[in-house]
């Protein structure tokens, strides 16, 4: 998927919402545990109920690997279902991979080609040659961890190198890599004040923002500092949406929660279009 197509979907749906499909069998409605593939059944119901409200879905691979082969089958069925029924939706494998060049190339092929995701999240610690293999896939996107939403982000990411935090070095350095126009960045919503600085370095890039909702981030603030003229944000919410109810009405309840966020987004987009 091209950036332009993603932007046009955001404008069409008045939404830059991404739903994290982080399926935990301990949290989904009990009645689903009786069907053949509860993980896929849950995802399909969530997708069917919410696809008109979102522009992206993001399964975190940890939740699928935790169920072994059964989990991988459910992940494959989920991405196949999305690619066949909703090719207009941007799909992100939240895998946080990164390895030496030839090994990163294996991960890139697995997620972007074989499974057919539009994007994959990648960790920057191993540098350029660990990330570039992901960037070599046309019309695919590499979402590099910059500033994450967890407490541990302050252990290394905000440490100062050459008068500047490590995460800013990651942003700056990555801009020099081949096909860097296919880069997006993970920036945690729990630190809205950082977005202003980040936009000075990557004014045009899409930012994937986890941490709205369950992790406490504030949508208004993120948009105030992080939005650019093409919107440039994908706001992810996982638990707050998909576990809104654990009863028979779980999909409708998820759609209600998604709609709350989508309406806030619509209002922000409307405000912005009138203030520009």
């Amino acid at each position: 998927m091209t950036n332009d197509f993603l932007i046009s979907e955001i404008r069409k749906k008045d939404s830059f919402l991404c739903i994290g499909l982080d399926v935990d069998l301990n949290k989904i409605p009990k009645h689903l545990l009786e069907v053949e593939d509860p993980i896929f059944a849950f995802n399909k119901a969530i997708i069917d109920a919410t696809n008109h409200l979102v522009v992206a879905y993001k399964p975190n691979t940890a939740f699928y690997e935790a169920y072994g082969i059964k989990g991988w089958k459910a992940l494959k069925k989920t991405i196949d279902y999305l690619n066949i029924n909703h090719p207009e939706i941007f799909t992100i494998a939240d895998a946080k991979r990164g390895d030496i060049g030839n090994t990163s190339a294996m991960y890139a092929k697995a997620f972007l080609e074989d499974l057919g995701f539009d994007a994959v999240t990648v960790a920057p610690y191993m540098g350029k040659d660990s990330v570039e293999p992901f960037l070599s896939f046309k019309e695919k996107h590499t979402i590099l961890l910059a500033l994450t939403s967890n407490k541990g982000a302050f252990d290394f990411q905000t440490q100062i190198i050459d008068n500047e935090e490590l995460y800013k070095q990651v942003l700056k350095t990555s801009k020099s890599w081949e096909y860097s126009d296919q880069l997006m960045y993970v920036v945690g919503a729990t630190k809205a004040e950082y977005f202003k600085e980040i936009r000075k370095i990557v004014p045009n890039s899409f930012l994937l923002v986890p941490g709205v909702g369950a992790q406490g981030g504030n949508l208004q603030n993120v948009c105030k500092y992080g939005m650019n003229e093409d919107v440039g944000l994908l706001i992810n919410s996982s638990r707050g949406i998909i576990y809104a109810s654990n009863q028979l009405d779980f999909a409708e309840a998820a759609a209600c929660e998604a709609e709350v966020l989508q309406k806030q987004m619509k209002a922000i987009l409307y405000e912005n279009s009138h203030s520009v």
Copy 2:
């Protein structure tokens, strides 16, 4: 597996060799492609031929994910085969994972409990709460990326923070984490001169050293600067051993290559025991 058990195996076998089981169907002998599970057949033959020469095996998960569900089945069969037939062997899932706490916990359970690996490699970029879930498993080990063997290691890992390279900050900071005695570290063999400095910070920890062989690292130098009185090193070789031949004799050829390294290790251990 405890550190003491691993050390006793190293002493018993006069070896601190780890073989990387990075199976690429384009590189294995053609005749194996006709069997039902070529990846497992290849691994089984390599393990059967080399287990007396090594103390550890390290499948890199990228090579298995690249083959989807088939790959995960082969990974599971490989670790099951090792755990049943060679419980004395230290097994490492080279996964380089790392995510927010509750998600890291899913990865930790998948690799250390469900698959039953002794250790898993983890990326440090997301800090303490992304690593500690891995450390909470008793008699299991978390192998943190410190200084990797690729060119991209110089992009961020060797950048200076507070007068000290980032990878040294990773070593120091991680020592304060809960159950840090279960930490080991990845240190690339391509930079033997760094081991001296690293040993000042983590004198007692095991170091997993990739990059001997195909990536050009030198065993003598690594041991000179990196070995401690409990040996404290696991030297990994992948391509140089497992692809020594792509003919019918591939397992014997792999054993020959492994034996070359094991004999060098034996000589180094003998020298050291007489110089102390």
